[in-house]
Amino acid sequence: MPAMRILIIEDDRQAASYLVKAFREAGHVADDVADGLDGYAMAREGAYDVLVVDRMLPKLDGLSLIRSLREQGVDTPVLILSALGQVDDRVKGLRAGGDDYLPKPYAFSELLARVEVLVRRRAASAGSEPTAYRVADLELDRLSHRVTRQGAEIVLQPREFRLLEFLMKNAGQVVTRTMLLEHVWDYHFDPQTNVIDVHVSRLRSKIDKGFDRPLIHTIRGAGYMVRDSAGRRA
């Protein structure tokens, strides 16, 4: 992942400086600003790849800020952070023009993965979505719904196909369990158990079993990633 320019609009100074530090450690460029009006000005002028916006901000609240940006034609991806929580807040956030939503408290790995996927998705949407994904010797054809590895077909159930499709679409990218639940099952709740892990391990047994080079990797404390073993991320 090339370095991203991230603007953090967050009035909690401690949280903001933690985020700036953590994003820098992950190899990105991060600025932070403490109130909605300054945040709006910086977001409009600065060339940021992604905005991380707290919902409750002084002077201009997060949702109004996003709405104003969208009205001004600024389409920088926005991830909303909210302490408010759940159910309808998420819907309201996305309606206001946010691209993703993360309730507080969150794990930084979750935030990082989501922000990276947002930027990636934006870069990818410049062209049309490819009809096939390929990672090393694994190939997924979205039109014929066929998956092959080293030319041999692997039979997947529909949900397994979608799981692999999402992982391969974000190849080289950490994908968290909640992201998988959101994109593959279209649910945003807390599944309590390790349901996603079991699905991934079943998929892994079909994809990686019998091959010396594993492609589905578990990223400790974060989630999963599909990549060629020679990938950059440790």
Binding site: G85, Q86, V87, D88, V91, K92, P103, P105, A107, R159, L181, W185, D186, Y187, H188, F189, D190, P191, Q192, T193, N194, V195, V198, H199, R202, G221
Partner: protein, 504 residues
Amino acid sequence: MTGLGKLLRSTAFRLLLAYLFVFTVFAFFTIGYVAWNARRVLDDQIVSTIEAEITGLSEQYRTGGIRRLVNVIERRASEPGASLYLVTTNAGERIAGNVAELPPGIPSRPSPPSATSCIGEGPECQYRETPYSRTGETEAGAHRAIVRVFTLTGGFRLLVGRDVEERARLREVIRRAFGWSLLLVGVLGLLGGWFITRRVLKRVDDMTETTRTIMAGDLSGRLSVRGSGDEFDRLAQNLNAMLDRIGELMAGMKEVSDNIAHDLKTPLTRLRNKADEALRNARTPEELRAALDATIEESDNLIRIFNALLMIARLEAGNARETLADFDAAEVARGVTELYEAVAEEAGVPLEVAVDLDLPVHGNRELLGQAVANLLDNALKYGRPSEPGIAPRVGVEARKSGDRMTIAVADRGPGIPEAERGHVTERFVRLESARSRPGFGLGLSLAAAVARLHGGLLRLDDNGPGLRAVLELPLSPLPKGEVETASVRVRGSPEGLEPAVRRP
């Protein structure tokens, strides 16, 4: 504020003033109309009297000439309550009559033949109203009269008129009556208003006083209801009902906070102890790292519990109603079951699914998904058979029945004792045996809260053996025609097991 100021500012008093004004205006118009009509009747009477006199006098003149006319007039003029008479020459010189003087010009201006019998100043009217004075009176124009001037053959002018004193008297009577009645209405109205307003104010003051003590913190206080069923009683009853509801909510809040305190204190203590222990005992970086991992995991659990508590609280408060929409509950039942299928298989528990087609529900898909997930999670975690000889099995059914639908999750575990079953769906009540296990009681509470949000309920039945948790929800009225109720086998159970479809 003084008592009088308060009275004057009260709504009741203002209302009274408005009524008073309206009635005054009404009375004014009524009396005015009566007065106007009375005057018209009087005028008509005067006109017809004059008409008759002129007819009679001109008859006398025709038969007896001017001498006879003068005689008759002299005689009539001396009777009490006589009309007014004046006979003049062509040039206006007085010959006989009881009128001393008329405004100059009147006798010499007989009305033209085309004039009608109206009263007015112009030449188009035969009659006119004019001041006059009687013979012997010094003051000119002391009285007023309606007169008609008639030209006799031979050039004599005959004036006949009637005094309008009576009419003026009538007007005076009416005016006085009007004044008095106004005064009476005003005084009585104000007095009555004073009493009524004071009575109303007293009740309002009583209510204000009670509400003030309630606001000051005494939530047990209630407004008094007199039983008369008037609007104050209804208001008091409604306010009392509102206070009851507030009281319930306060009690609920207290219960919630007590439970949150308990639920969060336990894992917080664990978290603290782990960190403390690591600080004291860990020697190597690996040990420290492991301890940190454990604390992060513990805090994630805390967040999870906290989120669940928060969500239940918000559902109970009815906060999620804004984003309700129609969705297919069958899809939710299928999707969530499929999500847990892998876990079930791994645990060696056959998961059987039977879902009717198309179960439209008005609500929140995410929340229903969460509720079903919680029930499934419970069934897989705690639904293992406790006695040997019973094969583990978890069944999920989504059925339509009339205008309602049910999603049932059944296991073959130890179940919940019947005595505790009703208890466990209550808010935040958990089986003591499950308290230490994270999520369990919250899962059921959340499912129950979700069911209530959808206008339904969560029922816990005996599965003999095991627990059968049933979410019963009302179906949403269908926009399009009928819906097939064919039961379909959505997904096969793991190999070697009985057919998946189970009929209730």
